[in-house]
Structure formats: structure tokens, C-alpha cells
């Protein structure tokens, strides 16, 4: 486990370094980062002033060093639009996004996994068809459209739930569902196919052959082996929810990172866009690292580097 842990941590550190380089060069690919960073209707003199102020006129390697050491110190630059440190803005918005992404994840796991298990245990039953339909719906219904339909039905027509903001617990329900449906679909499909695969394994036949009651086979033999691949998918799902939150938070005016990113893009606040990208990317790498560590703890086969 020790070697595996060190290997994965080093690998993640390299990935983060790579992401930082990627963002650095991506912003410069357009030719003139200063023109990109300053608002669209800036005069050439303003662009020049910005270039001067932020040191974008220095040699590339000096800029790169400056940028990397800034990130290492936790300095992600300042927002153009709000004149505040980007990291401070991100910190203010992070709890709301985590709350929403976690709610969506919990919804996806508590609904998707049981549905997938039942569907996989009784393939081709009526229940299986319903579960597969839900799986397909999660795959084909765009979350941002679902969000609008939910608002239309539950906020405009029925007036049961609020359509925007983050005031009471009820504000969380619609956005979490809109963000979680994709995850539900993915988990239903994956759990179902894993259960089907595990059920066909030789050790399951052995367990049945030696006369174990089917309930015991299900809980002691099928369930643990189904859980293993789910761990990695749940991690992926969480980072996926971070991406999807851009739509959902915008539609529901949820004060999180996703709506902050959308605002920053709309206002052409590129320093903030860059900072949020770096933050989300590093966050995702860390979530993946954690998932892999849990994965390694549960399944000894993974630990072989």
C-alpha cells in the first residue's frame, strides 16, 4: 500500500503541474493574453497599461516562473471585475457548490445503486425495464433543460418549491435533482451491468452449489464485488457534477463556483476564469487521488503498481 500511495501522490502532483502549464499556455494561445484579460471594449492604451501592470510584457519563462510561484503561495491573481483576490471569491462560493454537488451525488447513489441492483438481480422483469428507462433518461435528458422544466412545473405551475436562490432547505431540492439525474442514469447502468457480470462468476455458482440461501449469496458475495467498481464511478460523478454545476447554478441563481465561472465568462473576467479553472482542476485531481486511495484500500489487486 505504501508504494502505491507514494506513486499515486507523485502522479497527482505531476498532473497538477501539467494542468498549470496547460492553463498558462492555453491563455497565451490566442496570441495576446492582455487583450483577452482586459474587457472587450478596452482601448489599446488600456491593454498596454494592463500588460505593463501584470508583467505580461516580460519574457515567457519569467512569466511562467512568476505564475507558478504565485500558485504555490496560493495567489491566483485578482479579479478584473470585482478587484478582489480570486481565491477569496472562490472561497466564498465553494461551500454552496460543495453542498449542491454532494446533494446531487447522494441522490444519485441512493437512487441509482439500489435501482441498478434490483434491475441486475431480476433482469427482464418489469422493474428492470423501469430502471433501464431511468438509466436511458439520465443519459439523454440535458440537465439544463430538465432544470427549466422542473422550474416550470414545481415553481411556476404548482408553486411548491422556490425556483432560485439558496435560502431554505427547499431551495436545494430542484437544483440537486436536475444535477443528479445524469448521475442516477450512469449509476443504474453501471450497477446493473456489474451485478450481471458478478452473478455469472464461478464463485457465485460455487456459493449456490454449496447450498447457501440466495439472500446470503446476494449480501456476502454479490454486493461487495459490485461495490468495488462503483467507488471509482462515484468519484468521477462528483467531478462531473462540478462541471454540470455551471449550468444548474446559473439557471437556479445558486451562489456557487459554477455561476461564478459563468459570470466571469459573461463579463470577460479572464483572470477569474483562469483561477476557477485551476482551482476546479486541482480539486478534481485531489478527488481522484482520494478515490484511488479508497479503491486501493478496498481492493488489494489495485495496489500492484
Amino acid at each position: 500500500m505504501g508504494r502505491y500511495l507514494i506513486f499515486r501522490i507523485l502522479q497527482s502532483a505531476l498532473l497538477i503541474f501539467g494542468v498549470l502549464l496547460l492553463v498558462f499556455f492555453m491563455v497565451r494561445l490566442t496570441g495576446d493574453p492582455a487583450a483577452l484579460m482586459v474587457s472587450r471594449d478596452a482601448t489599446p492604451a488600456q491593454i498596454e497599461a494592463y500588460r505593463e501592470a501584470t508583467g505580461l510584457n516580460r519574457p515567457l519563462h519569467v512569466q511562467l516562473f512568476d505564475y507558478l510561484s504565485g500558485v504555490a503561495r496560493g495567489d491566483l491573481g485578482n479579479s478584473m471585475e470585482r478587484n478582489l483576490p480570486n481565491l477569496q471569491l472562490i472561497g466564498q462560493r465553494l461551500p454552496a457548490t460543495l453542498e449542491l454537488a454532494l446533494a446531487a451525488l447522494i441522490l444519485a447513489v441512493t437512487v441509482g445503486v439500489p435501482l441498478g441492483i434490483i434491475s441486475g438481480m431480476w433482469p427482464n422483469s418489469p422493474f428492470d425495464y423501469i430502471a433501464r428507462l431511468i438509466g436511458l433518461a439520465g443519459q439523454t435528458i440535458p440537465s439544463f433543460w430538465l432544470a427549466m422544466i422542473l422550474i416550470l412545473v414545481f415553481a411556476v405551475q404548482l408553486r411548491w418549491l422556490p425556483s432560485f436562490g439558496r435560502d431554505t432547505f427547499t431551495s436545494l431540492i430542484l437544483p440537486a435533482f436536475a444535477l443528479g439525474l445524469g448521475g442516477i442514469g450512469q449509476l443504474v447502468r453501471l450497477t446493473r451491468s456489474t451485478v450481471l457480470e458478478v452473478r455469472a462468476e464461478n464463485y457465485i455458482r460455487t456459493a449456490r452449489a454449496k447450498g447457501l440461501p440466495s439472500r446470503r449469496v446476494a449480501w456476502q458475495h454479490i454486493a461487495p464485488n459490485t461495490a468495488i467498481p462503483l467507488i471509482s464511478v462515484i468519484g468521477i460523478n462528483f467531478t462531473y457534477a462540478l462541471g454540470g454545476s455551471v449550468y444548474i447554478e446559473t439557471i437556479f441563481s445558486w451562489p456557487g463556483l459554477g455561476s461564478l465561472l459563468n459570470d466571469a465568462i459573461t463579463n470577460s473576467d479572464f483572470p477569474l476564469v483562469q483561477a476557477i479553472t485551476i482551482f476546479i482542476a486541482i480539486f478534481a485531481v485531489c478527488v481522484n487521488l482520494l478515490t484511488d486511495i479508497v479503491y486501493g484500500l478496498v481492493d488489494p489487486r489495485i495496489r500492484q503498481v
Binding site: T140, I149, G243, T277
Partner: protein, 302 residues
Amino acid sequence: MTRTAAIAQLSDKPKRHSPSGDLLRRFLRDPGAVVGAIVVITLVICAIFADSIAPFGPIEGDLMVSKLPEAWAEGGNPAHILGTDQLGQDILSRIIYGARVSLAVGFFGVLLAASIGITLGLLAGYLGGWVDTAVTSFVNLLLSVPYLVLVIVIAAIFGRSLINVILIFGVTGSPIFVRLTRGEVLRLKNEEYVLAAKALGAPAFRVVLRHILPNLLGPLVTMATFEMSAMIFYESGLSFLGLSVPPEIPSWGNMLTLGRRFLAIYPWMAIYPGVAIAITALGVNLLGDWLRDVLDPRTRKQ
């Protein structure tokens, strides 16, 4: 019996089980595949013949008939089956024209992603060494950033145009093609027929193109289908955020952006473009499921 007659008789039998006939029978027996094919064909026809199919032009607005609900609703007009938007533009016509953007992005995006991905995957898998390390690092890097965030940020940097969107999806979509190709090459590289071709002195490019690549086509076609549905999906998302094609071009995502603004008063503006996206994604996915079963029996799930 002469020798030719014997051969003729031998080759007679398999005729009754012609592979194409089998395929057609399997296709017709699978309702999902038929529905998927109908959806995809409809989409293609809409995109190509939009000018003749659509009852109105894509930006042909008539303020006299603006904000009309669906034809069957109260106050609806039979000329505008799915209603009109705030400028009096016909929703159905704009959805039909919108198929162009979706199909262009889906098709060319996948084509580019597959070309890049297959090339890099073949190189990495076959050559190994530092090429493999470089390609794999690149892939891991692109896959480490949440996909939507990556696409949204690149689109924000490069500005909105159809070409940019296709390029973005082409590059960001390539890693999974690299992974698939590389993995398969590593598996096939030591197969006996590949080793035999090498032993006979076939140059590397011939080994790769003639002996390895054809064996990859099944999984690649399947992957391309699913990717196409994903790209159509993500394009509508980018449009929705105002990061895909310019607002004057009707795309399903652009229509949804507009629909969102009038959601509470003219809901049909937001409902139908979304239905179009969902039906398209459903059709392409169903077709992909069938292709996977037919072309790639190894990964077939019950």
C-alpha cells in the same frame, strides 16, 4: 462430379446465411435499433433539406404572429405547429434548421477526435517508449480536468464560431479514442498474425494499417457513435451558455437560452428545443447500443 461443381456446391450453402441478410434480420428484430435509425435518418434529412422541409426561414420573424403557443393550445395558429418566439419566428422551423449545427458538430467533431485519437493511439501503442509516455501524459492531463469545465473555458478563450466549436470538441474528445486504440494495439501487437506479418518483413506502417487497424474498427465505430451523441449534447450546453455558434444562428442550445428568458410566460419556447436534443441523444444512443452488440461481441452486456 467435377472439381468446380464441388466447389460451387460448397459455396452454395453459406449463401442462405448471407451476413448482410443476418444483419438486417437482427436489426429489424431490435426495436431500439430501428427507432434509433429512424431518429438519426430524420436528423440527417432535416439538416440537409432544411430549406425545403421547414415551413418558414430560420430568421424569418413576423411580429404579427409573435409569442403564439402550440397549434393545439388555445390561441394557437395551425401554421405554427410548435408556436412562435418573441420575434414571431417559427419554433419548428428553427428546430429543423438547428439540426444543422448539431449534426455538423457531432459529425465533424467526432471525425476530428477519432482521427487525432486513432493516430496518437496507434503511435503510442505500437512504438511504445517515450512516444507512449508523451501521449499517455497528454491524455491523462486532458482527462484530469472535468470535461465540461475544460470545454467551457476553451470556448470562452477562443470565441464563438462553428469552426472553433468543432475544433474544441475534436481536440478534447480525442483522449478516449487514444485510450481505446492504444489499449487494443497493446493487446493485438503480440497476436500471431501480427507477428507473422512482421516476420515476413512487412514495414511498421503496413503492419499497423493492414493487420491491426481493421481489427479495431468495431469498437471504434461504437465509440464514435456514443461520442457523437455526447458532442451534440455538449454543444447544446455550450450554446446555452452563449459559447457556441453566434446567437443569430438557430441552434437548439441558443433557442433554449432565449426560452429561459421567457420561461414563465412562453414556456413552449424552451420545451421543444430540449425535446429535440433529448430525442436526438436517445436515437444516437439506441443505435450505438445496437452497434456495440453487433460489432463488438466481447463487450456485449446482457
